[in-house]
Amino acid sequence: MSDDSRADSPAVVTEAAGVIREATGVARRSLLKGTAGILAAGMFPAVHSQEKIVLRYLGTAVNQDKAIAEKFKADTGIEIQYVAVTTDDVTKRAVTAPNSFDLIDTEYFSLKKIVPTGNLKGIDTKRIKNADKITTLFTTGMVAGKAVGDQGTAPKKVIYLEGEKSKKFATAPTQFMSLIPTVYNADTLGIRPDLIKRPINSWAELLNPEFKGKTAILNIPSIGIMDAAMVVEAMGIYKYPDKGNMTKKEIDLTIKTLIEAKKQGQFRALWKDFNESVNLMASGEVVIQSMWSPAVTAVRTKGIACNFQPLKEGYRAWAAGFGLPATLSGRKLDGAYEFINWFLDGWAGAYLNRQGYYSAVLETAKSKMEAYEWAYWMEGKPATQDIKSPNGDVLAKVGAVRDGGSYESRMGGIACWNALMDENNYMVQKWNEFVAA
């Protein structure tokens, strides 16, 4: 499969040359590629040296913004070719077809599956200009000097590798990072204040019979189970030692709670992708559901009231980052490093901050944002001018305050991280039971 996708690639010439240099990998595969290289080189002898770099960027659609690719191309001449798949499929491709991309944008919790396969190459922090400015949330798990919740797959547990070709996570900081953080956020429930008409302050409200038939939960098992765990704790049913790594018994309990609620008709639907959650909320099919911050923004840009509601139990955080496939080398590798450096340099960070995400290097992003924007998005202050999204839609009027307040109060309120549990297989099986109930 990976052979086919390689042969189809427009950059086959550089690739084939790269493979000959590498001289690693299965003999049959090199032979195939070598043949393709000779054929291609024979047909276009002159193109070889001027070949433009094209980076195939594998990730979810949410992070693949056209404007970012365009700006990067304008700045450096390197083309980004987006390959958009779902969260689960990113992992699947990283494990089964590591040659089908040059840059991966994936979540930290997926690393437990990808790193042991040896398909990722440690990123040399010496080649990353702003490496030491990456927020402490990732390197030490602290925000403003205070430790945040580290239940689940907190990035600090999986961000360092023992070496460039290591299949193991390092316990102390090293020169090699598994992923360079790109965007992250803390998720909570989204609500329709106009339809609920009262304050909401606890995760427990998701299963409140008051909203029967008007709630929804995420149908990505490894994330949905974490939301469910937040609800179970908020309802006072059980306190988990680690929500991000449940025992079989704890999984049974969590799923049982969900199934009981489902049987009583609590859920209107389950959602699996960004747009589904936006449509459910915007159409009024649901009034309270687990939701992602940009989805809330998307509902709001339609002129419909929607809150990304801070809750007293805290947030479920997630973080994504760039990784490099182990087979990447030569000019493409240089191109990938250039992209990562460019990404941390501020323009992209400011762009993401304006969408309601957070960028990995705050300092550079700040330099590319207006003072009033920074005050609204990062300091939790009321807007002194209308706040606009990167494509010009008004997101908040003068005087509005961001849901969840400042960076420190939101990211400082993390209760747990998206996780991959040791009992993941069992969990998926039980989740199927919930869907079937």
Binding site: P116, P221, R268, A269, K272, V428, Q429, V435, A436
Partner: protein
Amino acid sequence: MSTTTTPSLPAAAVPGRSIAAWWQAAPFTLVFALFFLVPLALIVMVSFWDFNEYELLPGFTFKNYVSIFAGCGDASEGLCVTLKTYYSTLKFSFLVWLITLVIGFTVAYFLAFHVRSPGMQTLLFVLCTIPFWTSNVIRMISWVPLLGRNGLVNQTLVGMNLIETPIEWLLFSDFSVVLAFVHLYTMFMIVPIFNSMMRIDRSLIEAASDSGASGWQTLWNVIVPLSRTGIIIGSIFVITIVMGDFVTIGVMGGQQIASIGKIIQVQTSYLQFPLAAANAVILLAVVLMIIWGLTRLVDIRKEL
């Protein structure tokens, strides 16, 4: 399979034809083997493998099959997930089959026996295919704004003061799933039934009428038996599609309704390929049994 074995029968009876017949069958045999038998064999093989979070571990174990039916022996807990899922999948197959059959037969009957001119027949037939000019998913999703809580149907009903509060079961329910399936797949019933109806010798119907049969008697004793091939072929289409579907059930059921296809999809996205393969093998066995049962009712090869 039948294509590959058939030529050998006359070949034995008429010596000399053998080589040519084998050559004629060869291209299809090759395609069939390469794109169907080999992948199928791989699926069966993988279904006996072990796996962990990120690797398939070649070997031989019944673990996957055992875990699929885990808890199914225990009646006190109610049905286990697998049986519950098959029950729900079979329920949809049956409902959709029944409704598409009734609608498909009626439409085909109208086209074949009531529309007299061949030109008109062709025109109406093409009209039936128009919905197929847009993609499956789009035709399905377009139901959502229509059936929603604040959708067109509910707004109209509330506006006409027929109901006070919006009807909830229109969307994300068994109803919406069946509706979408019927909308999507009735055509697969119409085409084969229409095809076999067009082959019915019209003098048989005249003969029935001359012998004093009523309209219903003619329909039941002459037309239905003679369109049996079309009905069976259409049924095979509809049932196999619904048995394997996970997109329609997902979108129209609000992701809350189980289908065996959905379970396989979730398992493959979590790299549980051996489990998914085992599920696929079981699904294949169930579908083959249904098809086997249907083909007992009619010898398709003889009728075609």
